[in-house]
Symmetry: C2
Amino acid sequence: VSFRERDLLGFIRREAGAAGDEVLVGMGDDAAVIAATEGPLVIAQDQTIEGVHFARAEVPWSAVGRKALARNLSDLAAMGARPWLAQLSLAVPDDVGEAEAREVVRGFLELARGHETVLLGGDLSRSPAGLYLDVSVVGRLHGRSAWTRGGARVGDALWVSGVLGGSREAHHHAFEPRWREAWALRDEVSVHAAIDLSDGLGRDLPRLLAASGTGADVELAALPRRITSKGPVSVTAALADGEDFELLLALPSGSDAALAEVATRYGTPFTRIGVVTAGECRARTEDGAWSAWVETGHEHAFGD
Amino acid sequence: VSFRERDLLGFIRREAGAAGDEVLVGMGDDAAVIAATEGPLVIAQDQTIEGVHFARAEVPWSAVGRKALARNLSDLAAMGARPWLAQLSLAVPDDVGEAEAREVVRGFLELARGHETVLLGGDLSRSPAGLYLDVSVVGRLHGRSAWTRGGARVGDALWVSGVLGGSREAHHHAFEPRWREAWALRDEVSVHAAIDLSDGLGRDLPRLLAASGTGADVELAALPRRITSKGPVSVTAALADGEDFELLLALPSGSDAALAEVATRYGTPFTRIGVVTAGECRARTEDGAWSAWVETGHEHAFGD
């Protein structure tokens, strides 16, 4: 089932829809041109690779395209930014036909429409082996400053959105990027630091703390664990599974009411898991003992 | 030879250098933040894939990283934009070690430094097979409007930069993106339409003409053909080889002196190859006969 670049490109251009007045040159030229009149922009780029981030036997093609964009929108959420634009690079192997490639694009565009994201361009190529997606996004702050990992202060409360662990069995292809919750929170409280949990709390919490130059005391009993048909996932799974795509936030104490309001509005739980300290990063286990944080979670290793 | 994500990331962050005042948040967070105070931005994204765009036996690793960025800077040139920022996604297979991956990054960064481009972020992953690069770039117009493919007018002269054909044997890993020439031209003449020749003049000229709603008369004898050790490449090669990464421009007649000045300043030849018409796209062969344009050149086919 061979197909031509221009056929799939034509499909993408038809389906992508209108780009809005601030897109001065949209798809179909050598590059796209954007007005960028509203102050700081946030840019991110993330890959989604067959055999690394998904297995084709396990998910529909549309979910692959969806996830490739959703990972990036989660990065925007962690900066306190709203989605605006995306570019999609797609490399298609010989054993993926045009119908399947269109499904990938459909899943991408369906999430884009639901999350105020305009597909502006990208690149299409053959792949020698495996489907490969790489998405870059541009987010907006509408004059506000971005959240970073580096602003946590001693005494801040640490909160996570949603539930942790078990993502590979459950929602890691279907998660909702949390930018709407993040954007709403900005009206209510001062978020000091934020990160999205892509590699697992076990690894991503130390990243936030290192950037902030702080430590933390975390109550493992407080972690919001995913409930599966076999009961809640283990604490180890909640720390190390990765691909949660939830937000970890450092907020001044006294933010509980604001978080509760946003949680209710979006149906997204927020859970207080600990406090930022001037010491090391520690965890209190369910038996009440404190121990040093162990960096569990996902890290790519190469050449193994 | 296994290595860890953080080792290669650390190398990239050290080597990337300073980002400038308009980069509000640089590498190392969930995303980057840019000030974007100078009006329209130009964005593009292009893949460079082992087995499609390069073969590892044929080029040094540094040339692969160089080309991945250069393709994108050529797109900016075709919009009349200056380079500003880049994001690099890199997927590394098990049979590429850290030393080789660093060479790829070095080649990328060396071109970036020579072309005023700041590496701001991207993504690093394992690849199940083959080295995969995808680069997105942000260019600036400093208040000027972008060139598109769609502005050619009847009577315009068609010009190409550099020489065409034979790129796979010669310079396709070493070409210089033509944005400096493009930027200098903006001070001298009104460029009506532009495209960069990535798939070959045979295919890219009809793209510009279709976007402009015009035809053209092209003198094949005028094509600037690459000279190899065996003499000039054939006209067919000049039309169809692709990967020239030269500019095709539509300019008002009478632009010759301005082009000559820019050509001298940068040591880049510019050649007049034809004229924009209200008719079809035609070619005059070396025997003087006119014939309809044949769309030769590169197009990805999938599933073959």
